[in-house]
Amino acid sequence: MRTVSALYALALYGFIFLPVVVLVLFSFQDGRFPIPPFKGFSTRWYERVFTDADLVEALVHSLFVACVSSAVACLLGFLAAYGLARARLPGGAAVRGFLMAPLTVSYLIIGLGLLISFNLTGVSRSLWTVGIGHAVINTPLCFAIVFASMGAHQATIERAARDLGAPEWRVLWLVSAPMVMPSILAAFALSVTFSWDEFIIAFLLSRFDVTLPVEIWSLLRSGLNPTTNAVGSVVFLISVALVLVFEIAFAARRAR
């Protein structure tokens, strides 16, 4: 029985990680095609990635869009969570439902909707519109994470702050936000990774300046090439690094 379980686990992890392993392996291919057989080890495709101005520029764009859109999503999500957790609104549950609904809509639909809206309002496509798209998909997520961490005990603490003379914006800034900061950071981390990977919306809403997934896609159109493997590996590495950094940061917070 144990061997069966072990084999099953192995098959499962193989299924999940084999594509990544193959991708990374053939990014070091000493040859022109990222297909077997493996002809030898070379880092020249990485050199090509980092000397390709378009790719490096796209990488910077991606990071910029990810950080800015995630910050906006966290801010909006936090404010919505605070309002819905603290005030008894008529139809509060419905408002909450509407806020979370975009989580169930496909990115393609959201991207198309935004594209049409931007066309109608005459907003030209740019990294800013991509950022808006990513804020749209990540705000419900940030809202859900922060809302879940707002308890009744914190409401008393906010009451204490008001009692001591704090105006509403200072209660938010000095008391409410710091108390749920772990959730806000978690929401930010998730948003960044989602935005970093996102293709459809970025593709539909960008024009001359593009994000990394869009740049990779245009590379793929010119055929398979170990450069795409190398840049894919870089994307993967950065994602893993992000996850590790946040994990370590949270572990340190918990330990305190």
Binding site: T156, D163, G165, R170, V175, M181
Partner: protein, 345 residues
């Protein structure tokens, strides 16, 4: 700082339920008042209305002569010590205590100096740089007190502040609260359901029941001469002997008992005596049989059965030789007895 508090006909309804029914109360500046009552009596609701956390459905709250009924909590000259302390978990103890002063725009050095002074007052010097989670429950409660007093409120509201502490700590904190109140002179309004705590600290006990003030006065007055049957029973154990008011006393199944009262002759009455006043080597008014006794440390509590009456409870000094089955004369201190009207039932 200190100020008188006037509460005028405060009513509060939650939907169809009336939690406070036209409650009026006047407290003098510097008074230590305790709102006492069973849970659901409206005492916490009244405190929240004074503090500005809850709107009254009707009525007026005046502090120092100013109508504050419409002011939000942040603008009232009151601060609150919450039951669960409600310290800011992400700030140091000094930052917690100095928070109110920061909101008032005081400079950093001035407010940290004041915080140190307040921590000294509540007996926590040298804790300034700790964080709330490093402190014990009793210490957190002291920090909450220091934080509320740091802004020099005219009125301090305490919402069952000792409820979460163990008995020994609670007694110690009661004494300390009383001392601190005398030192700062602020009007304190303290909510509790523990009548012993109320008597230990209050200048004035305000006993509430079902949204109304049932009785109020000094602890001695409310305990020894309660105005209603509810307050007699809530303040401590009480023996009641049914009877009828007569001139200069009450006619009971034990005969005429001479006791002062304000009832009309012929009115149904209830003669009340506390267990510690029942066996006091005065003239006997009847005979009783000891049923059982239990040792309580400071006294022995015995059940007595008397012909024609419900069972009585008496407290005897420790060392009294008494066994179940013994016959004892009932020798109450008639000066400590009081008479209340009895519902015709």
């Amino acid at each position: 700082m200190t100020a008188p508090v006037e509460i005028e006909a405060i009513t509060r309804r939650f939907g169809r339920v009336t939690v406070l029914d036209a409650v009026s109360l006047e407290l003098e500046a510097g008074e230590f008042a305790v709102l006492l009552g069973p849970s659901g009596c409206g005492k916490t609701t009244l405190l929240n209305i004074i503090g500005g956390f809850l709107d009254a459905s009707a009525g007026t709250v005046r502090i120092g002569g100013n109508d504050v009924t419409q002011l939000p909590a942040a603008q009232r000259p009151t601060t609150t010590v919450f039951q669960d302390y409600a310290l800011f978990p992400h700030m140091t103890i000094a930052q917690n205590v100095a928070f109110g002063l920061r909101m008032r725009g005081e400079r950093r050095r001035a407010r940290l100096a004041r915080a140190a002074e307040m921590l000294e007052l509540v007996g926590l010097p040298g804790m300034a740089r700790r964080r709330p989670h490093e402190l014990s429950g009793g210490q957190r409660q002291r920090v909450a007190l220091a934080r509320a007093l740091a802004v020099r409120p005219e009125v301090l509201l305490l919402d069952e502040p000792l409820g979460a502490l163990d008995l020994k700590l609670r007694r110690a904190m009661q004494d300390e609260l009383k001392t601190i109140q005398r030192e700062v002179g602020t009007t304190f309004i303290h909510v509790t359901h523990d009548q012993e705590e109320a008597m230990a600290i209050a200048d004035r006990v305000v006993l509430m029941n079902a949204g109304r003030i049932e009785d109020q006065g000094s602890p001695e007055r409310v305990y020894l001469r309660p105005q209603t049957a509810f307050s007699a029973a809530f303040m401590g154990e009480i023996n009641t002997i049914p009877g009828t008011a007569e001139d200069g006393g009450v006619a009971t199944p034990l005969g005429h008992i001479t006791v002062a009262h304000h009832l009309a002759v012929g009115q149904k009455a209830m003669l009340c005596v506390r267990p510690e006043h029942l066996l006091r080597q005065r003239p006997a008014i009847g005979q009783a049989t000891v049923q059982d006794g239990a040792f309580f440390g400071t006294h022995t509590r015995v059940h007595l059965s008397v012909e024609g009456l419900p069972d009585l409870i008496a407290h005897l000094p420790v060392g009294a030789e008494i066994k179940p089955g013994d016959a004892v004369p009932l020798t109450p201190d008639t000066d400590a007895m009081f008479v209340l009207p009895r519902d015709p039932q």
